[in-house]
């Protein structure tokens, strides 16, 4: 999947968690949790959604790599073989 396609998947999962959150407004280096006001339950729901949509395993130890938008997309890209 391309980075844009992955970003669309992330935006789709986020829409079910924080309907008003707009991923497009978040900078690559910004912390998603800060920028979109996600608490730990929201973040877990994001991980669950990505796990289910993309069929990838995301160990808890990897969570810190997913905090920034750029880090998240890079991680997903690597995991989905892009």
């Amino acid at each position: 999947m391309t980075r844009d396609e992955l970003e669309a998947v992330v935006a789709d999962v986020l829409a079910g968690i924080a309907p008003e959150a707009d991923l497009a407004t978040v900078g690559e280096g910004e912390d998603l949790r800060e920028a979109l006001d996600l608490d730990s339950m929201d973040f877990l729901n994001l991980v669950i959604g990505l796990h289910e949509k993309l069929g990838i395993d995301i160990p808890e130890a990897d969570y810190p790599k997913l905090f920034s938008k750029g880090g998240l997309l890079t991680y997903l890209s690597a995991k989905t073989g892009g």
């Binding site: 924080a18 309907p19 008003e20 949790r33 800060e34 006001d37 608490d39 730990s40 339950m41 877990l44 729901n45 991980v47 669950i48 796990h51 289910e52 395993d57 995301i58 160990p59 808890e60 130890a61």
Partner: protein, 420 residues
């Protein structure tokens, strides 16, 4: 003969608006069954019935706003003979209006006047709609009587609601370009449609009323302790390592369970201050303060937390937070909390001094889990994750000595996470 009344969903609720009946006269109802949707300051709430029997008469029509305790329906207990005008006869012959007035049971002298019958355009009361579909319909503003159900028994599903919404959008004329021609669409004449979630202004008023009452009436005392979390977090890490994301636990679950078990040891802090005395809670039902997007707060309860295994508790918490934010809480969840917990979460402040939710007699607060220097049992210094646990308690019901025991018990349980 029982009367089903507008429930009080917390100290701050004075009135509610009936959005929808989910039962009709003649239907059998069970304890705990959701029978109506009521709009409150906390959003649309699914109201449960606490009697078993048969719905005899609905006394309110959708759209009516009535004070707490107003009778909403008459319910005939199982085994009881039908009342004089139980179920309306199928095709009502045109009779003079006066003859329709049935004698009211003495138990309900001040029952609300019978509402005008809902306009015929309103959806039939027996419509089967899944809760998820109902919420989706509220989100999309789709009147349920316009939706064709394709589920079992013609039940309306989420897909039906969405396809009806698409159909409506397709039928609607494309918006004209000039603002002058932008006539608002014709409003639905009869069907009240609840707002999605809640109204922030009303929610603010509800919080203001409850918290003002708390600070006016309750002589709070406050205690706080710092609790080492390395054992609890190591336990969590080991547990989660073997689980796929949907089965993973959050630290919040350990905090909830530890508090519930501590309350078993200090039950004097689990309950209510009513009419000048303490009444113990009927179980350990913990309110969990949930911040809502767009502002506001709601603290619905998880029932019998002390008896729930961690995976079940996690599932209950996820479900509760989801429904608190999408507007599908049940009346018992808003009315039953015996003690409330506020946990500020990973990005929150380090400590919190809670304001008790009346008529509860105590509230427990957890700050963010942060890494700080910590002197362990052997006297060595280490960087450890710690959390500030605080207690606000009602001095009419307890003293600091007892409160200290609760905090010590919470600490003790968090040092033995495998027993939670």
């Amino acid at each position: 003969m029982g009367l089903f009344r507008m429930p009080s969903l917390g100290a701050d609720m004075e009135a509610g608006t009936l959005v929808e009946w989910l039962v009709k006269p003649g239907d059998k109802v069970k304890r705990g069954q959701v029978v109506a949707v009521v709009e409150t300051q906390k959003g649309a709430i699914e109201v449960e019935c606490f009697e078993e029997g048969t719905v005899e008469e609905l006394l309110l029509a959708p759209g009516q706003k009535v004070p707490v305790e107003t009778p909403m329906a008459r319910i005939r207990a199982a085994g009881e003979a039908p009342g004089p005008a139980a179920v309306p006869p199928p095709p009502p012959p045109p009779t003079p209006a006066a003859e329709c007035i049935e004698p009211r049971p003495a138990a309900a002298p001040s029952a609300a006047p019978p509402p005008p019958p809902p306009p015929s355009a309103a959806r039939p009361a027996g419509l089967k709609v899944s809760p998820a579909a109902r919420r989706r319909a509220l989100e999309l503003g789709v009147p349920l009587d316009r939706v064709h159900g394709t589920g079992p028994d013609g039940a309306i599903t989420v897909a039906d609601v969405e396809s009806a919404a698409r159909g409506a959008a397709a039928e609607a004329p494309s918006p004209p370009p000039t603002p002058a021609a932008a006539v608002p669409p014709v409003a639905e004449p009869s069907t009240p449609v609840a707002r999605r979630g809640f109204d922030p202004v009303e929610m603010r008023k509800a919080i203001a009323a409850a918290m003002s009452r708390s600070k006016r009436e309750i002589p709070h005392y406050y205690l706080a302790s710092t609790v080492a979390m390395h054992r609890a977090l190591a336990f969590l890490e080991a547990t989660n390592r073997e689980r796929p994301p949907p089965e993973r636990l959050l630290p919040a679950v350990l905090l909830l369970k530890a508090t519930a078990l501590a309350l078993r040891e200090v039950p004097q802090l689990n309950g209510f201050w009513i009419d000048g005395g303490f009444r113990p809670g009927p179980g350990i039902h913990l309110g969990w303060a949930i911040a809502l997007r767009g502002g506001g707060l709601v603290a619905p309860a998880i029932h019998d937390v002390d008896k729930l295994a961690l995976p079940k508790l996690m599932a209950a918490l996820r479900d509760l937070v989801g429904r608190a934010r999408s507007g599908g809480l049940k009346s018992s969840e808003l009315a039953d909390a015996t003690l409330t917990i506020t946990s500020l979460g990973e990005r929150g402040a380090e400590s919190v001094l809670p304001v008790i939710y009346p008529p509860q007699v105590a509230m427990v607060g957890f700050g963010a889990i942060v890494t700080r220097p910590w002197v362990d049992e052997a006297g060595g210094l280490a960087a450890r994750p710690v959390v500030q646990v605080s207690l606000a308690a009602d001095h009419r019901a307890s003293d600091g000595h007892l409160g200290s025991r609760l905090l010590a018990a919470i600490d003790d349980h968090l040092q033995r996470p495998e027993t939670l």
